[in-house]
């Protein structure tokens, strides 16, 4: 007698979107918050946005209003960035996204470092 063997269906469709707690990839809220804060803060200081805010503030003499507008714009732009990142993480496999992001970050780091190095040690 041959019993019909049930096809071994995948019992648990391992949810890749849910991080396993304690794994390094998930990271705690505080760690992700601090990483993002430090990176963005350092990258933003002395940037052209700050320059724009400075100029507007100096011209208008209304620093509070300028600060308010700039803050709203920056929060909007960071929301756009976060949503774009979420979308990318849904479209691309995580490992490929990590590689792309790593290359992008190293590239940005080298470019920024070169800019700073050139202005510290100007080439003749």
């Amino acid at each position: 007698m041959t019993e019909p063997q049930p096809a071994p269906e995948a019992p648990s469709p391992t949810p890749s979107t849910i991080p396993s707690p304690g794994s390094d990839q998930a990271g705690s809220f505080g760690a992700v918050f601090l990483t993002t804060f430090t990176t963005v803060f350092l990258a933003e200081l002395g940037d052209k946005t700050q320059l724009a805010a400075l100029l507007l503030s100096a011209e208008s003499g209304r620093p509070v209003l300028v600060f308010f507008g700039a803050s709203l714009a920056l929060i909007s732009s960071s929301l756009v960035g976060v949503v774009l990142g979420r979308w990318l993480s849904r479209v691309l496999p995580p490992q490929q996204l990590e590689r792309l992001a790593g290359i992008l970050m190293v590239g940005l780091g080298l470019w920024l470092g070169r800019q700073a190095a050139v202005s510290v040690f100007p080439l003749a």
Binding site: F29, A53, V82, M105, A117
Partner: protein, 104 residues
């Protein structure tokens, strides 16, 4: 309330920020982390604080610290994060469940 000034500030800063390296960094961190809320909170606070310094300190900050030093620090931060991501991407993910071996 000076609405034109508010609108012009908003438009200028928003357009200056689109596609900027800061936003690229936010996209990168958000895409490779599962905590969008933390990324949004951290980046928003950082950007608002940076613009507060820009609007309030009025250029005196850049003469104290120097934009080159800040850029160097930012570049080191980018390099560290990028290298960590590349290392993580090159390592095979430990998805094999150790419990499966004993069951079979």
């Amino acid at each position: 309330m000076d609405l034109p000034l508010l609108a012009s500030t908003y438009a200028t800063v928003f357009l200056a920020e689109l596609g900027d390296k800061t936003q690229l960094a936010i996209v990168t961190i958000s895409g490779t982390s599962s905590r969008s809320g933390a990324v949004f909170a951290g980046s928003s606070l950082a950007l608002v604080l940076a613009s507060l310094l820009g609007a309030a300190a009025g250029g005196s900050l850049s003469s104290v610290i120097g934009p080159d030093v800040l850029q160097l620090a930012a570049s080191v931060g980018f390099l560290v994060i990028g290298t960590r991501l590349l290392i993580k991407a090159s390592r095979p993910e430990p998805e094999a469940d150790p419990d499966d071996a004993s069951a079979g």
